[in-house]
Symmetry: C2
Subunit: 312 residues, 2 copies
């Protein structure tokens, strides 16, 4: 703990870097708090996620992607609830030696995603840390009352679906570390910039009986969905959608690795996902005990060395 | 980054420690996000603050007070806006070696303050860090539309007031470190457990022309208020309210030290604070250039070695 310089760097930082991001409700980030008139006739949806350098992203990742990854991880939570993005607050703990160019890149990335996803920053805090860069973000979204997607509505006989492709994030981490080839940069980009499935989440309102986003490994997260719904889940590993870049990799790794940020959801018997949405049926729900049975392409239980990724 | 144990500790932690804190909107902390029906006819007030061990609290502080301090720092932001508390989300980055007893104490403290201040946790995230304990909290409150207290309404001739007493937090940090005597523990307690002035903030709605909370030193924070209001401020140091425990300490330290969490506000000429609220007039606003003039007891400009505390 030190005495402050006459012009406190905290305020200079906020003013120079973060203020241009602030929307009207953020009061230019100059008041003690932000004001927000809730959109009439909507429920609010709120989630918070944290990321630490060396745990959830690589310290050498481009600063332009780091804030965007945190924002998109939170947007993925909104997608899982079928919500529309509204606004966010963020706190940033930075080592004192953080160069201004890093902050410029960090903020520039956030500005891109604010425009892409139509949301604004309402407030936050910038503090110093003797440890690694630590970020925390709280996101606000809205849904029509009673229409939020939940985890607990899957029933025996419902089908199990997943969006996009699985395993790119886990491979992308290895690619970003230079451990595996990634000639077109696709895998590292999937690790650094998840694609929140907001349009699919919205389209699943009133249709999916359960939904969540896959962040800690498909098998482990399916276990959460199955337990919340009180039924068993059968995952047919051979049906799991893979990108061309992931084909040939160890399937056990792909279905237990983290950082997918795809939507995992249940549909009633006979129902199909909305027309133009990329989603693949990968299994079904049973009356068995709450949990996950993973079958290989021959229909036999598939041995897995672990269930998924834990951030702790 | 490691592979997960079969029963991911992240989920065990959340389940064991944080779930009992969750209110109805938090969905038991088991869904991807929380749902909140905004109170009809109110504006939302939102703020976020972060705290890092060794920067904003002492690593050896009792875990019971650490979460409460962060909650109260955020509640103080609501008080500064004249808002009523509603709910919060929190993210917690912990070293892997954090003992369960620390988490128990941390959560027990939060439970006390949830009851005391009438608010619930809606969600959050628990992650690991190779660095110090890093906490982030986003708070939500409400105000009647248009009645939030802001920083920009002080005008020349308005009087300047502050709640409670100033300087106890700065002395309390030294007391908590064992650097100065603190026979009754009052000073350390003021550092560890700020008292958010929520009742005063509410009572100032429609009365104060500007308001903020003092967190980074009275002189520095008054500078923010003066600049936001576009006028000068004169602070009469001899009028600054001191606790019996702080009398005799260096006045320059007391009015520039951090961690006060008192309300600093402006009233129109002739107006007085609401009847039973402890507040002291400490100066006035002028037509001078935006900034602060600190006068000593003889009416002469008072030399200060620095303006206040920066968290960066």
């Amino acid at each position: 703990m030190t005495n402050a310089a006459p012009l406190a760097p905290e305020f200079a930082l906020i003013a120079q870097h973060f203020r241009p991001l602030a929307g009207q409700g953020g009061l230019g980030l100059t008041d003690d708090a932000a004001l927000l008139t809730p959109p009439p006739g909507r429920e609010l949806v709120l989630a918070a996620d944290a990321m630490v350098a060396g745990v959830h992203f690589l310290p050498e990742d481009p600063p332009e992607t780091i804030g965007r990854k945190l924002l998109r991880v939170n947007l993925s939570d909104l997608a899982a609830m079928g919500a529309d993005p509204l606004a966010y607050l963020m706190t940033v703990a930075l080592p004192r030696a953080t160069p201004a160019s890093w902050l410029d890149g960090f903020v520039a990335g956030l500005a891109l995603d604010q425009a892409e996803f139509g949301l604004q920053v309402l407030g936050g805090d910038t503090v110093s840390t003797p440890g690694p860069v630590s970020l925390s973000l709280t996101i606000l979204g809205t849904v029509p009352p009673g229409q939020a997607l939940r985890r607990g509505g899957a029933r025996p006989g419902h089908t199990l679906w997943v969006s996009g492709s699985i395993g790119d994030g886990a491979l992308g981490l290895r690619a970003a570390r230079g451990e595996i080839p990634d000639p077109d940069g696709y895998l590292a980009s999937r690790y650094r910039l998840p694609q929140p499935r907001l349009a699919l989440g919205r389209a699943l309102r009133g249709l999916a009986t359960a939904c969540m986003d896959v962040s800690d490994g498909l098998v482990q997260d399916l276990g959460h969905l199955a337990r919340a719904s009180g039924c068993g889940a059968v995952l047919e590993a051979a049906l799991v959608p893979l990108s061309p870049q992931a084909r040939g990799a160890d399937l056990g790794l792909l279905i237990t690795g983290g950082d997918d940020y795809e939507l995992l959801f249940a549909l009633p018997p006979g129902a199909l996902p909305p027309g133009n949405m990329a989603a693949t049926r990968i299994g079904h729900f049973t009356a068995g005990p709450p949990g996950v049975l993973v079958l290989d392409k021959t229909g036999q239980p598939m041995p897995l060395s672990h269930q998924g990724w834990s951030h702790f």
